[in-house]
């Protein structure tokens, strides 16, 4: 293809996206589009499965049978999200094994929030309320993103995430209405999870590298800072409603903007965790790697068995 022809196809591709048409796996796409989508979708898939670990940490200790069942179901949903997202990513011509490899070697990232430990039961409430809450704000716009398989996966995922968010908030509400110890536990969890949740929206717009291109491809509809503001505005009244205090002395309603002003985020902490030096980065990756390595003989056995079955079927057919 001549340079001109490529330019024409690219212009047509951009026009399709601008018309809100979906790009499907078999359609032509610019290499950069493919790579960006592999990066973003796999990062999202990895976040789902690494996110199972901090929450899975409380399954055996959940305080009631009802909570235990709800938590198991939630963690199972996250595994399901991982599954759809890996499948969506595989349509771009990369295998699940390669994607795992990237996660295990640290080449691919996952949401940094999961590098914080879950040390009390209230952390399970805080994760549902804040982390799933922030995830929804990030993800709802993706239900209309340009890549078809990703958009369709996100529609399913978002429905379940909003259920998780309500469930998490309900855990927090129960604690906040409970005994002194329970209230303290809830406030302590909010104190520890608030700032990392704000960091989930990524660096400030001034420092975000990908925004312009991502906007064009509808991987993004709003900037990081706009989404972060939306989260703060939505969450602060929820905290107030159950008598918890958001741990930010600079938090103040701004009448003019009709929004909350909030304090400065500790970006040093953000980059430290992103670069692999958060409280739980090593443990999270180790857990994934050992699950994978310990499971190798199982996957090999399943493959060998399937092959034998296949062979005996062909033999019978002959």
């Amino acid at each position: 293809m001549s340079e001109n022809q490529i330019k024409n196809i690219e212009a047509e591709f951009d026009a399709r996206i601008a018309r809100d048409e979906k790009i499907e796996p078999k359609d032509w796409m610019p290499e950069k589009y493919r790579q960006t989508h592999i990066r973003q979708i796999s990062q999202h898939a990895h976040s789902e499965i690494v996110g199972m670990l901090p929450e899975g940490n409380w399954i055996t200790r959940a305080p009631s049978l009802r909570r235990k069942v709800a938590l198991l179901a939630k963690v199972q949903d996250e595994a399901g999200h991982g599954l759809y997202l890996y499948s969506a990513c595989e349509t771009l011509g990369i295998s699940r094994d390669e994607l795992y490899e990237q996660l295990h070697t640290g080449k691919a990232k996952y949401s940094s929030i999961f590098n914080y430990p879950t040390i009390t039961w209230a952390d399970i409430g805080a994760i549902g309320w804040l982390v799933d809450g922030a995830a929804i704000i990030n993800q709802v716009p993706l239900c209309n993103t340009s890549y078809g398989p990703y958009a369709r996966a996100m529609i399913r995922v978002c429905k379940e995430e909003s259920f998780h968010q309500r469930q998490g908030y309900e855990i927090m509400m129960t604690l906040a209405e409970g005994t002194k110890e329970q209230k303290t536990m809830a406030q302590d969890a909010l104190n520890r999870w608030w700032w990392p949740s704000l960091m989930m929206f990524g660096p400030t717009d001034a420092e975000s590298v990908h925004t312009a291109q991502s906007m064009k491809w509808k991987l993004k509809r709003k900037t990081n800072d706009e989404l972060r503001q939306q989260f703060v505005d939505q969450t602060v009244p929820q905290a107030e409603l159950i008598g918890l205090t958001v741990p930010d002395p600079d938090l103040k309603w701004n009448d003019e903007r009709q929004s909350y002003d909030f304090g400065a985020i500790d970006w040093d902490e953000f980059w430290q965790v992103v670069k692999g030096h958060g409280p739980m980065n090593k443990q999270r990756i180790n857990a994934r790697v050992s699950a994978w390595e310990n499971g190798e003989w199982v996957r090999d056995a399943a493959m060998a068995y399937a092959k034998k079955q296949e062979e005996s079927r062909t033999k019978q057919a002959m």
Binding site: V69, Q76, A79, L83, I171, W297, D300, Y305
Partner: protein, 251 residues
């Protein structure tokens, strides 16, 4: 038939689901593949769902502000009635599957009888649970075959797990004085009648999986009388942690 006896009987049934569900819950996020993780979580969810139905009923029987949670969490180790088999650890995926299979075959036969119970609560629970357990049994049977007839390593591992867990199978069929009364009342299941179909089904699957049926006739027992293996205390310290640390609270 006394309420207390029925209560005890229900514990003997439900504690198996509770403790096996708890063991499977440990695996969430650590399995060999996302698909097996989802399946094990599913089975765990079913077992806890059954546990809740049994314990809600049991709590009503004893009254005194008992709830499904006081029954599940606030007993001492000696008061849990589950068989030793279900409390055995997730040593590796082969042990998880072998434990599941050896229990599922029993569980299915058991529920198939409990469906006919004179006690409408128990028969309703059994009718719902048996659909779930028939899926569990299919899952664990399929994996026994995959591992048994997969690679030399998988065959060796699943054989080791079966050999090791075999000694806990006989206890599934032990009966107590309470069983006798409960069977007489048309409420409970005559376990001794399940023994032959159980071993013939298990042996058939092992053969199809190219595995050897253990010959050992030395069996372990005790769970049904509350005398557990050393694992049980650790299971309970996790499971009861919140209830014991923060007593009398709503979660």
């Amino acid at each position: 038939m006394m309420k207390e006896e029925l209560y005890e009987y229900i514990l003997g049934v439900a504690d198996n689901s509770l403790i096996l569900g708890q063991r499977l819950g440990e695996l969430c996020g650590h399995g060999p593949s996302l698909e097996t993780d989802i399946a094990c979580t599913n089975i765990s969810l079913d077992l806890f769902g059954q546990t809740r139905s049994y314990f809600q009923y049991a709590a009503k029987l004893i009254g005194n502000d008992a709830t499904e949670d006081t029954v599940a969490f606030l007993r001492t180790e000696r008061e849990y009635r589950n068989v030793l088999l279900v409390e055995q650890p997730n040593t590796d995926f082969a042990y998880t599957i072998a434990r599941q299979f050896l229990f599922d075959v029993f569980h299915f036969l058991f529920l198939d009888q409990l469906k006919n119970s004179n006690d409408l609560n128990l028969s309703a629970i059994a009718n719902k649970a048996i659909k779930e357990v028939s899926y569990h049994q299919r899952f664990s049977t399929d994996w026994i075959k995959r591992l048994g007839d997969g690679t030399p390593e998988s065959a060796q591992r699943i054989q080791a797990a079966i050999d090791d867990l075999w000694r806990y199978t006989d206890e599934l069929f032990h009966t107590s004085n309470i069983d006798d009364k409960i069977i007489e009342a048309g409420i409970g299941v005559n376990l001794s009648e399940l023994k032959d179909p159980y071993y013939s089904r298990v042996i058939q699957v092992l053969e199809e999986s190219k595995l050897v049926t253990p010959e050992s006739k030395w069996f372990q027992k005790g769970g049904k009388a509350g005398v557990h293996t050393e694992h049980m205390g650790y299971i309970l310290s996790d499971m009861q942690y919140m209830q014991r640390t923060f007593p009398n609270m709503t979660w």
